[in-house]
C-alpha cells in the first residue's frame, strides 16, 4: 500500500515543527478555546485565594469583526476569528488588574511525547479597541500576549510573551518575556496576600508589582524588543499579523520569538520555575490574552492557531 499524506492548505501560512498537535481555524468554531476561569471549588463555589477577581475576565466569542462605520473585517481566511474582549475599565498600570480589564482564552492539553524537546505556538492575529469615541485608540490597549502553562514532574512553569502597547496611555511598544525579578516574594507576587494561589512565576499576566514604564516583577524586556505592530490608522481596520514562540521543554528555556518579520533569539533565558501544583502534572495549556489600558473595550482576534512539537529542530523549517 502506498500512503499519501496531504496537508490542509491553510497550514501553508505557518511554520510548524515536525508534529502538528493542534491546527485551529476559528471558522470551524471555538475548537475548545474558552474563557480562563479560576477553580470554583471552595465554599459557595468561590475561587482560590487571590486578590484578583479571576472570574471577571471578558468572554471569548466567534467574531466576524463588525465595526461602527466600516464593514465586517471577517478574518484572515474565511469569516470568523476568535475574539477576546475586555469588559471593564483598567486600573492604573501600577495597580493590580481591575475586574474585567482582561480577556483570557485557554485551551487545555497534555503532553504526548516524553522525548519532545521543543514546543511551538503560532498564530495569525490582530487587535484593536471599540470605536466608541473619536481618535485612533492605539494607546488604549495595555498589552497582548501568550503563555504556555506547563507542569512537568518537577516544576510548574509558564514561558510568557507580552507586548506592552501602552502604560497609563503612554506608548511603550516593546516585547517582554516572563521571568521573575530577583527577590520577589509570594506576598509581593500576590499583592500582599501571604497565601496567594500564585507562586512567583505563575500567572505573571496578572501577578507581581508593575511600574509606570511598563515593566513589572514578572517580566524582563526582550533584548532589542522594540517593535511597532500594525495597529493601523483607525480602530476599525484590522491587519493580520504572525506570532510564533518556540520553547525548549527539556532545558526549560525560551528559544525564539517571531513577530511579523522580526525574530528575537531568546536562547539561554529560562522562565521562573515553581513547585508542582496538585493534579496537573503533564499539563500543557496554551493561553492568549488582551488587557485594556483605559475604560475602553480592547479586543484581540485570532484567525488561526497551530501548536506543534518536535524532538529536534530542522532549522530550515523554523527560520
Amino acid at each position: 500500500m502506498q500512503k499519501v499524506i496531504s496537508y490542509e492548505r491553510g497550514l501553508e501560512k505557518f511554520r510548524p515543527l515536525d508534529d502538528v498537535v493542534v491546527y485551529d481555524d476559528f471558522d470551524r468554531g471555538f475548537n475548545g478555546w474558552l474563557d480562563l476561569t479560576p477553580n470554583f471549588v471552595n465554599e459557595g463555589f468561590s475561587q482560590q485565594p487571590s486578590r484578583i477577581d479571576l472570574g471577571s475576565w471578558g468572554p471569548v466569542m466567534i467574531s466576524n469583526a463588525p465595526m461602527r462605520l466600516a464593514a465586517s473585517s471577517g478574518s484572515m481566511e474565511g469569516n470568523y476569528s476568535l475574539r477576546l474582549a475586555t469588559r471593564g475599565a483598567a486600573a492604573p498600570y501600577e495597580e493590580q488588574p481591575a475586574p474585567g480589564s482582561m480577556s483570557v482564552a485557554i485551551k487545555r492539553l497534555s503532553g504526548v511525547d516524553p522525548q519532545a524537546r521543543y514546543i511551538q505556538i503560532e498564530a495569525w492575529y490582530s487587535y484593536t479597541v471599540s470605536q466608541d469615541r473619536i481618535g485612533v485608540g492605539e494607546n488604549d490597549v495595555r498589552a497582548i500576549g501568550f503563555f504556555f502553562d506547563i507542569q512537568d514532574e518537577q516544576h510548574r512553569w509558564q514561558p510568557t510573551i507580552r507586548y506592552v502597547s501602552s502604560a497609563n496611555g503612554k506608548p511603550v511598544h516593546r516585547w517582554q518575556l516572563g521571568r521573575v525579578q530577583e527577590g520577589v516574594s509570594r506576598k509581593d507576587w500576590c499583592f500582599g496576600l501571604d497565601n496567594g494561589w500564585e507562586a512567583p512565576g505563575i500567572d505573571a499576566i496578572w501577578s507581581g508589582r508593575r511600574y509606570a514604564d511598563g515593566s513589572g516583577d514578572g517580566f524582563q524586556w526582550v533584548d532589542g524588543g522594540e517593535q511597532r505592530l500594525v495597529f493601523n490608522e483607525s480602530p476599525d481596520k484590522l491587519n493580520w499579523m504572525y506570532f510564533r514562540l518556540l520553547v525548549d521543554v527539556q532545558n526549560r528555556e525560551y528559544v525564539e520569538l517571531q513577530s511579523m518579520d522580526q525574530t528575537f533569539d531568546l536562547r539561554g533565558i529560562a522562565p521562573t520555575l515553581a513547585p508542582p501544583y496538585e493534579g496537573i502534572t503533564n499539563l500543557i495549556n496554551p493561553v492568549f490574552w488582551v488587557e485594556t489600558d483605559s475604560d475602553r473595550v480592547a479586543s484581540m482576534y485570532l484567525d488561526s492557531v497551530v501548536y506543534s512539537t518536535a524532538r529536534s529542530l530542522n532549522r530550515e523549517e523554523v527560520r
Binding site: 471555538f30 468572554p59 471569548v60 467574531s63 466576524n64 463588525p66 466608541d132
Partner: protein, 108 residues
C-alpha cells in the same frame, strides 16, 4: 450537526441599577437563549433581549420577561438578531441590588 455553545456573560455580577450584559457577537448563530439566575432576595427584574449593528447602539428585540421576586431562574430567547446581542436587565437599584449569573446559549 449544528454548532452550539453556552457562555457565561455575567458571572455573579452585582447590578445596582438598570443595566445590560456584555455585548456579545453571535453572527454565526441563528438562535439565542439567555438564562438569568438571581440570588435570593432580589427585586423584580424585567429582561429584554437587545440587538445592535455595531455593539454600541442598541434596540429592543424580544418580549420582556419578568423574573418575579420569588423566582430564581428565567429564560429569554431570540432569533434573527443579526450579530450583536445582549440582555437588558431593569429593576435593580442601589437599595435593592441583585447578584446575577447569566448564561447565553447559542446555536446555528
Amino acid at each position: 450537526m449544528l454548532t452550539s455553545i453556552t457562555t457565561v456573560v455575567e458571572r455573579r455580577t452585582v447590578f445596582s441599577a438598570d443595566g445590560a450584559t456584555i455585548p456579545f457577537e453571535a453572527g454565526w448563530a441563528a438562535e439565542a437563549v439567555f438564562f438569568v439566575q438571581a440570588e435570593a432576595g432580589h427585586p423584580e427584574l424585567r429582561l429584554t433581549v437587545e440587538i445592535s449593528p455595531d455593539g454600541l447602539a442598541w434596540t429592543p428585540h424580544s418580549e420582556t420577561r419578568v423574573l418575579t421576586t420569588s423566582a430564581t431562574l428565567a429564560a429569554v430567547s431570540a432569533s434573527h438578531f443579526g450579530t450583536w446581542i445582549r440582555l437588558r436587565i431593569d429593576g435593580a437599584s442601589h437599595s435593592q441590588p441583585v447578584t446575577l449569573l447569566v448564561h447565553l446559549t447559542l446555536k446555528g
